[in-house]
Structure formats: C-alpha cells, structure tokens
Amino acid sequence: MSGSADIGLWGVPLAMIGGAVRVSTPYIFVALGETITERSGRINLGQEGTLVFGAMIGYGVAIITGSPLLGVAAACACGCGFGLFHGWICRFPKVNDIAVGIAMMQLGVGLAVFFGKPFIKPAAPHLPAISLGWWSAVPQIRAALDVNALFILGLGLALFLNWAFRNTKYGLMLRVVGDSSDAARAMGLNPNRVRLYATAIGGGLAGIGGAYLSLYYPGSWNEGISSGQGLMAVALVIFARWNPLGCFFAALLFGGAGALGSALQSVGVTQGYYLFYAAPYVLTLIILTATSSRSHSLVGAPGELSITK
C-alpha cells in the first residue's frame, strides 16, 4: 500500500470490507466444501488439516513450477485425496466420522509441517489480484477492492451450488442421501458412495482454500498459517444452516470480524486492538451458543448428520 489519504475513522469500515473480502475466501471454500459433505450426511472435521496441507502443497508446487495456478490445482487434488481417505474409512461400520475427522486434522497438519520445512524461507509467486477499485483515487478504497479471482470463483460456486441443490439430479441425490439413508437405499442409491464423493469434493475445495492462504493472503507458508480457520468454517456451515449462499455471507461476516484487529491498528488504535484479533473466535462461540438448544433440534439440518441425530 503506497501512501494513504487521510480519511479518518472511515478507514475502519473500509479496512473491514477489504479485510472481509481478503480473509473470507478460505472460509468460503472450506464452508462450501463442508456444506456439500454435510448435506450428504457426514461431517468432516479434517477440513482444518486439509486446509493446512493444501496451503503447504500449493506453496511448494508454486515455488517448484513457478506457477501459482498449478499450486492451486495441486492443493485441490491433495484435498480430494484427503477427502477420499476420510470417506473410505467412514464407510466401514461403526466408524465415527467426527473421530476420524479429528485424526485426519492431526494427520494433515502433521504432514504439512513435516513436508513443509523446506518451503518456509523461499518466496512463491502470488496469485494475481483483480483491481476493482480503478475508478477511485483514494488508495484505501483501491486497496480494499483488490479482489482475488478465487473470491469471485467462490461467489460463483455458492450461487451454482444453491441452484444445483435444487435443480440437478446430483443435487437432489445428495440431499436424499443426507436426509435419509433408508430412502436413498430404497431408491437404489448407495449412500456410502455418494458420501465418499461428497467428502472428496469437500476436501478438494478446502485444499483450494489452503492454497489461497499461502499464495495470496497472508501469502507465505508457515506452520501456524490457518489458526483454526478450517474448524471455524465447519461451525459456520451450521450457522448458515447448510445453505451455500448463507455460507458465503457468513464467511464475509467472519472475515470482517477477523479484519477488525488490523483495521483498528491501521487507524492508529495502539492499545487493546489485539483483543479484536480474537473476534472470529468469540463470534464462533456466540453463534454456536445462540443457535443451540437443549430442548429442540436444529431446523434444516440434514437428518443423517451424526451431530443432529
């Protein structure tokens, strides 16, 4: 960011909008992926591990090949692999998807740390940004409106999924399997196979989210790169009631909350701003508490989901 006009406190909302767009992208991808997985009746907590591993592999491949797009593709492929592995384990009887997810989370993070050591120092080529703020002379606005192509892809994906869940054969099949295994079997569908694919696609999207982290924002690979964003995205899916468009807006909200700390810092608040770095976590807790109840079940939850059964 070169030079800044003095726009006073307007900087805070502006920085938050910019932050929301920048920070939300990995949430969008993980949450959309998790929506697909959970709509099929399975929960994959391993998304956090997939996100971190995707960040590492995307960064590594971008360094080696010099192409950030190849990095994104590699991260997506690895994410699919993680999803397939999760789905394959869960097809065995009496396997708990949540426990497997926690193990997969540890595995993903562990493998990323192990293989990612050589990539901590070198700098990888970044994903290009699209400048939507060309019309403005105010540098803060231009900075806020530097949008990555993946963000727009995420928006498109949310719109597409929202349409596809209602208007395609595969969307309906996914919802059938997620709502009632018995009905699915009576229809001749194999719930395990549908869930396997749904988990693989979900993992692939989480991998893309990871590549965004290391190749665009924050834009470097380190072991603490995700700080739990994969897990919070899973919470976000519940908050968004398994609705893809809801996921998109919830991700923006989380992103905005995540940007609050740095936005305050940028306008010269020097004390206590770091408390606001905890905003997404506090938001997660508030949302989960507010939307839970001990006397009734969630409305809109897929019937086969183990957390709602």
Binding site: T168, K169, V176, D179, S180, S297, G303
Partner: protein, 509 residues
C-alpha cells in the same frame, strides 16, 4: 415416466422356501394373487410375512421355489428387476425424504431423470399424471410438513408414478387415523375394482381386512396355513389361523372407578417447548384418579412424546405444576420412589433398560441402591439382586437363558415382560405407559394388557399413551385426544366413538 404395464399384474409363488443359516423362515409357501384383487397377508410377528414380500421384491433370494408374474416364471433377482415388472412396495415407515418437496421426491425416485432437471417440463408432466389419479397431494411443500395420511398417499402415488401396478403394502395404516386409513384403503380398493391395480397388504387389523380385502392368506411360523375369501371368514377364524392353538391371557373385569377420589396425578397449566422448539406443548388440566386408566390418543408427533418427557423429568417446563398424591412432583428418583411412580416408556429396550447389562441387573434398577427397609446402601447385595430377579422372572414368565445374560439377548416380548415385572412389582400408585404392545405378538399383547388391567384394579392410577386406538378402547376408562400439543377432546369410554376421536386426532374441529 417409465413405461407402465397397462394391466394390473397377477402374481403367484410356488413352493417358496427361505432359510437364514439354520433358521427356516419360510417353508414351501404357495400363494396366488389374482390380477386386480385386494389380497391380505396375515400373520404374527416372525411368521415370515416380511421375508415373503422381500423375496417377491427381490431383496432376498428364495432358497427354493418360483414366482410367476402374469402366469410366466419371473426372475426377480434384484429390486430393480422386480420394479421393471411393475412390482412396488409401500413400507410401514415412510421412505419420502422429509426435506424434499413432493415433486422433488417423485422426480428423483425415477431412474431416467436427466442431470439437470427441467422443472417446467417436469411440473407439466406431474400435473398431467396427477389429473389421472383419483386423489391428490400438494407437491410443492417439503414432505416433512405433510400429515401422515397425505404422506402415505404420496408413497402410493410415487409407486404409481413409477409405473408399478402391483403394490405390496406393509401395515400401511399403522401411522394413520381411522378416517385416513379408511380413505386411503378405500381409494386403493376402488383402483383394484377398476382393474388398474393389484394389492397385497400385510395387516393385523381384522376390521380392515374384512372391509377392504377380497381374499386373505395366513402364515404361521413360516408355513402357509390357509387362504380364503374374506366374506367366508370371521375375525375369530382369522385369529385362530394366525395363532394356532396358543391360549391367550384373559383380562380381568373392570372394577368401578372412584370418581370422587383425589387424583393421583394432576397436571395443571403446563407449557413446554416441543422437539422442534417452534411449537408449544400445553396441558391445561390432566387428572388421573386411583384405579383408573386414562388413555391418550393422538397421531405420533402431536406432543405425546413431549408429555411423557415432561413427566419423566427429561423436558424442562416453562410453566405449570405437576402434583402426585397432592404433593409437588419434580420427577427426581427420590420423588418417584416416595410417591411410587413407575414408567414404562415405548421401546423399553432402549428407553428403560441398560441393554448390555444382565437381566438380573436390569430388574434391580429400582432396588440396587437400597436395602430391604429402603435405607441407602453403599455395597451391592448381589444375593438379594439375584433373588429379586428370580422372583420376578418366575412371576411374569420372562423367558431368559440365565439371569446373567444381557437383556438385549431377549425377544421383544420378553424384554417388555421384564420391564413390566420391574415396574409393577412393589407398591405402584401411578403408572405411566407408552405404546406398551408395539411390535409384540398376540400372546404377549394379551398378557401385557391383562397385567395393566390388574394393576388398575389394584388401585393404581394409569396414564396410557398409545397410537393404537384398539388398545385404548380395550383398556381405558377415559380417552383424551392430543392434537398439536394440546388435549383437544375427552370422552368416557362408555360413549366413545372411533370416528369422533379420529376427527379430533386429525385436528378437524
């Protein structure tokens, strides 16, 4: 839509046998179902009815025997092949996906649906299809929001939409009110008379069989024991074919109720959220007197479960009071023990037992932590627990291999007997029972109902929540109807009328 066979098919099984390991589930069963007939299949639990229909539907491979469809031998190796021949099945429990609309449910059940669904064209075809049907169901709301009768109609519509002209119905009315049942079966009956449909219905309700079926076949212990026209058979004939020479427990005569007596259970002005949290359960006034059975009728999901949970202390109330024998009752173990309150929830194996613990331990759930005089004890008295179990098993004729076998190894009837033994032993002033006979065979049902009646005559106040109207009419002194979380109707048994109760259950009034 898939190509539909024009005519209703006929079906015949010849010498069908099926063994599972060493268990002979079906032995040489030959049944003939004519085209356009309404055929009923009767039998106790475990008589082989569902094995037979699963063989017909291609879910099981018969060990020997053949199936003829329209007089030609058919290979029904898989459900898909059975479907291609126009055979369809409507299950006891709904197979509609609750979050999908009726239209979505119908379209996705078709095998040939394209990758992208053209809703305009599909809606047009659905409308054309519905116009040819004798009844209609709203197709644009999620099926989870439909009433049970509409869901069952939609299940039938789905089979017809898929071009199935031979329908097997597995206890299709168990979730319906009497009016809805009458409605649905009447429509099916009309379609069979017109020759559009052949129906094979599994049922245990004799009045339905007599009213709607042309012919009936009876299975007992996997063996075909007879068939006949329903016009030639009385309910007693059919019952004796089903149970053979087994004798049923006889029910006591009713002692008269002391209507002036202080109520044992009094619930007043109770409100609590229901399972979804969207609706409210509210019980204005519910009293059960000693020596009286108060039956609660209602379609599943109208607040009966919540009422039971409130009484069991599993659901917090927003307001209201529960009094037992005049004292405030807060559903703790101490309260229940002090006031002699006992519970028999539905599905007792899951809800009233620790399935993997032994029969003796399960029978001791009320007494393991106190000694003979009701004082708390620290160490378990193993000998007393065993002795207690032995007495109860003897008195209630529970069939178990040993006292130490896990209770989950017992048959459903014996689990229910064991729970009944535990709950009815000792002093019982208030008994709360839910669907006590669900899924049990004739002899177990007769015995369990006789026990409940005995307890009533001994002065116990009984609150009986049941989805089975026949059971309520047999046992209750008063019947209350729950609908949308409220008690909407009350009648003494003497003047109770099934059709009036049914219309209150359905929420008309």
């Amino acid at each position: 839509m898939t190509q539909a066979p024009r005519r209703a098919p006929s079906l015949e099984t010849i010498g069908m046998s099926k063994t599972f390991g060493t268990l002979q589930a079906l032995t040489d069963v030959s049944i003939k179902i004519a085209s356009g007939s309404f055929h009923a299949l009767l039998g106790e639990n475990g008589a082989g009815k569902s094995t037979l229909v699963k063989c017909i539907m291609g879910f099981y491979q018969p060990s020997s025997g053949a199936i003829l469809v329209d007089g030609a031998e058919a290979d029904l190796g898989t459900p898909a092949r059975a479907a291609a021949l126009g055979l369809g099945m409507v299950y006891q429990h709904f197979t509609l996906v609750p979050s999908l609309t009726g239209a979505e449910n119908l379209v996705i059940s078709r095998a040939d649906v394209g990758a992208v669904i053209n809703w305009r064209a599909e809606t047009r075809r659905l409308d054309a299809f519905m116009a040819t049907m004798p009844f209609s169901v709203p197709l644009d709301v999620p099926t989870g929001q439909l009433a049970a009768g509409q869901k069952q109609k939609l299940e039938i519509l789905k089979q017809l939409y898929l071009g199935r002209r031979f329908l097997i119905l597995d206890e299709p009315t168990s979730v319906l009110t009497p009016d809805e049942a009458h409605d649905v079966l009447g429509l099916l009956r009309a379609m069979t008379v017109a020759g559009d449909l052949t129906v094979l219905m599994i049922s245990h309700k004799f009045h339905e069989v007599t009213a709607f079926a042309d012919e009936v076949s009876v299975l007992r212990k996997g063996v075909f024991v007879g068939t006949g026209k329903t016009t030639d058979l009385s309910a007693a004939d059919m019952a004796s074919m089903m149970i053979g020479d087994a004798t049923l427990a006889v029910m006591d005569h009713r002692a008269s109720v002391a209507t002036e007596a202080e109520p044992t259970l009094l619930m007043q002005a109770i409100t609590a959220p229901d399972r979804t949290g969207l609706k409210t359960i509210s019980i204005a006034n519910l009293a059960v007197r000693p020596g009286e059975i108060v039956g609660i009728a209602g379609i599943a999901g109208n607040g009966q479960k919540e009422l039971l949970e409130i009484l069991a202390g599993q659901r917090p109330m927003v307001s209201g009071t529960i009094r037992v024998q005049g004292g405030t009752y807060s559903a703790t173990r101490e309260d229940a023990r002090h006031h002699h309150v006992r519970f028999i929830p539905e599905e007792p194996l899951q809800n009233a037992c620790a399935p993997r613990m032994s029969v003796a331990e399960n029978l001791a759930l009320h007494i393991f932590d106190v000694d003979k005089n009701g004082k708390n004890i620290l160490w378990l008295d193993r000998a007393r627990i065993k002795q207690h179990a032995r007495t109860l098993i003897e008195a209630f004729k529970v069939k178990t291999a040993s006292l130490a076998s896990p209770i989950t190894a017992l048959s459903g009837g014996n689990v229910q007997r064991a729970v009944l033994a535990r709950e009815l032993t000792g002093e019982v002033d208030l008994l709360i029972v839910a669907n006590p006979c669900f899924g049990l065979d004739f002899s177990a049902v007769a015995e369990i109902r006789a026990r409940i009646m005995q307890a009533r005559n001994a002065g116990t106040a009984v609150l009986l929540i049941s989805e089975d109207l026949d059971e309520l009419f047999e046992l209750s002194d008063r019947i209350l109807v729950m609908s949308s979380g409220e008690i909407v109707f009350e009648t003494p048994i003497g003047t109770a009328d099934v059709s009036i109760i049914g219309s209150h259950m359905a929420g008309h009034h």
